[in-house]
Symmetry: C3
Subunit: 334 residues, 3 copies
């Protein structure tokens, strides 16, 4: 038996598969056609979702497949992922049995398991996702893990293709928040734009560095694609000449395990909010955000509601790329 | 682009559309036919549901469409609806982005957002529903808001057509409860029966007046249809000659924001429970209630379990009218 | 009107229906075929679920039907089941109206309502399930109640047919836990293996007796099938010659209503954990468990991960038997 195809992190997607997925996403846009008739996709969410879940349910319906939604804490007990432990705590079932059993009932699985933001090494290993991948005998798609949000990255790359259509300066800029958030989306966007060969600039205050391995992989990818990857603490300089401003808040990994210090840190740079003045520094850039977004904290209403904002196009692209990954997981080419 | 058709409040449904919906409901009864093949309907519930959700899921399945169910607090974060606020509180996403993004993935949307029962002006404005309607680029159906429960009203009108079949005296009678409930169903039933040209009597103890604008609109509608609308605090007189007794509890708006006083108020008139003696005053009336209903508090078991009760027929009619509004929202005539 | 077919407890399934269900389960294995096109199945869960819910959703999708999932506490209010009470407590709706209304919208219903573990007589009567069965005008399938888990028992019988294929010594053995669990699965497995005519041995420490009526019925069934039913407190003796070890924890009914004493009791026999030494006493038995299972508490990792374990095959068989009960409920033979 060959291993099933899992989509866990964009860092391990090679260039041919990357191109295949984005091409298929275009082919599948607006397509309602029973390409996946009879297939079933099981989704396990450890965390809430609006876009990811809806897009997968709709993608399945559009292609004739059926999606099952399981929510930990909402009709599903919590799952243990560690090996070799005596399960005398709060977890009623191990990921091995849970994903093993689901693998016997569906043709593909999805898992959302956000960063715990307590133990940086644990988050970097993406333990829950890896345990589920190990237990699944059908393809497993990450619906966002501690380290990556692959479908967001794919949708973001597709949106830039559609809106810009050429190699461009893309700024992934840290934004303020009320509490520390995971790094998954920032990792995904950075990796995706690097994969596309853009000139990617990651801008953030000191202390908000992305994971070093992600940056190293993204730099390699960008270079191979004819682009570049740089990081900076100078947002003004970063915005000069930018065609894309991609805003996202994330927590300082130095404050892992200390929610109060983490909250203070993300509240300490209110000037990083993306406002019209910031956008004015760019080369008529589009404004991107993965959503959900806090208005007046991350971005000014004028920017989000203005003509430069493509956030709803990003959301729409989620449906297209998720159709593509579902088809690949189910062994179908459109 | 023309505005999408939204169904938010029965007060703004004109007579031709009202007739169309009820006629289509009859045509669509027991129909399992892929009239809506390939369509997707997204439902966002801020509050619980049994009938509304099941009827929409089944209506979609019966007609070949797919329904997605999102539950705030059960896999979906809470949504801000106010404009211009800095979102540094509990709400992770604004209705604009939430419903804007969903509009890109589905062909129709539904929203349930009950009355907050704190601020009477806010409830009267139906702020959440209006914000969602503004943000939605596809038709939006209210699944009950602060001010109205349009699908309940439609089902109630249809049930009276089926059971009585002619202009009749219909009493919407307030009933006791353990806590103050929203006025949406009382508004919907009153408006629906007025729209049908019945002789509608709204009976309640002093202090439990329905919203003045609803009563004014309902009076106009009833008159146009050859009927009438009156209100009274004398339930015994109201029941004389009634062919329909429609029981429902609702809170006294004078106690808005004071849950204890509100609870005392709805517990202060236990004699308004609908019992066999009350039914005996009528002209062999049918007994109606939207459900869920508290036995022994709102209505006596003997009435609810007796031959006059049509509450399960009302529930069944929900499926029929919801098929009709779905079809209209999706631009299909059966 | 004839009464609908309900599947509430395996004790009341006669031999021809039992055989029919297991034969249909084999016929329906891996079948994706719209035998139930246009049908709708409504599931009400008072408790969490992974396998039962997923298997029913997938079974419906595979056969062209649609499943609706309602979760008490997760978008659905709680339901009263007692007759004649004044509903002034936490329950917003009575099972009569809830299941009565659902019966008007779907072609079959399912209900999960675990044991309350407070009042042994109440659990023995399976009050919630019986009230729902009374209120449902369409077939009702138990998705596990206080007294039985019929689909688990069916799947277990099917798994033993597939793995052993002949009359065998089957040991249903009590296992340790961190808290007292209901007896439903132990009852179901015992009844199912008795129905199959195996030589069933129920092994448990003193104080953990199964319900007397279940044992009496199972003994009759086993005898009729050419097998036997015995109970013992001596696990070592029970395991001698066993071809099947079916582990399951359950609470001591003597501690009903006292969670602390109940927890102490199930923690007092850690040597009943199923480990390689226990398996070595058997005649190369397979290891079975209904899942979810606590590793290191109920069973050793070496057993669960070893070649004797068929727990994922049991899970897969759930899909097969649930297709069979759905088909029977909907009046279809494959």
């Amino acid at each position: 038996m060959t291993d099933p195809w899992h989509l866990l992190d964009l860092r391990s997607v090679n260039q041919p598969i990357w191109e295949h997925l984005l091409e298929q996403a275009e082919v599948l846009t607006d397509r309602r056609d029973p390409l996946l008739a009879g297939k079933r996709f099981g989704m396990v969410f450890f965390n809430p979702s609006l876009r990811t879940r809806t897009a997968f349910e709709v993608a399945c319906a559009d292609l004739g497949a059926h999606a099952v939604h399981l929510q930990v804490g909402g009709g599903l007990w919590s799952l243990e992922h560690r090996d070799g432990v005596v399960m005398d705590g709060p977890h009623a079932e191990h990921v091995r049995e849970g994903f093993g059993a689901l693998s016997r009932m569906v043709d593909g699985l999805g898992l959302r398991a956000f960063a715990g933001m307590q133990d940086i090494a644990e988050d970097a290993r993406d333990d829950v996702l890896r345990a589920a991948a190990e237990a699944s005998t059908v393809p497993l798609l990450s619906l966002e893990s501690a380290m990556c949000h692959p479908h967001q990255g794919l949708a973001d790359a597709l949106t830039v293709r559609r809106k810009i259509g050429e190699r461009a300066k893309v700024v992934v800029t840290w934004a303020p928040h009320i509490k520390p958030l995971p790094l998954a989306v920032a990792h995904a966007a950075t990796t995706a734009f690097a994969q596309e060969g853009h000139d990617v600039v990651v801008a953030h205050p000191a202390g908000f560095e992305l994971e070093a391995g992600v940056l190293a992989d993204a730099a390699r990818m960008a270079k191979r694609g004819g682009g570049s990857l740089t990081t900076t603490n100078d947002r003004d300089a970063a915005l000069e000449g930018a065609r894309v401003v991609y805003a996202k808040s994330w927590g300082a990994t130095g404050h892992y395990g200390d929610a109060e210090a983490g909250a203070r840190a993300v509240q300490s740079h209110p000037d990083w909010l993306v406002d019209p003045a910031a956008m004015a520094r760019t080369d008529a850039a589009i404004f991107m955000h993965c959503l959900p977004v806090r208005r007046g904290v991350v971005v000014a209403d004028e920017v989000l509601d203005g003509p430069a904002s493509v956030v709803l196009d990003q959301a729409a692209a989620r449906l297209d790329v998720q159709k593509a990954t579902l088809c690949r997981a189910m062994g179908v080419t459109a």
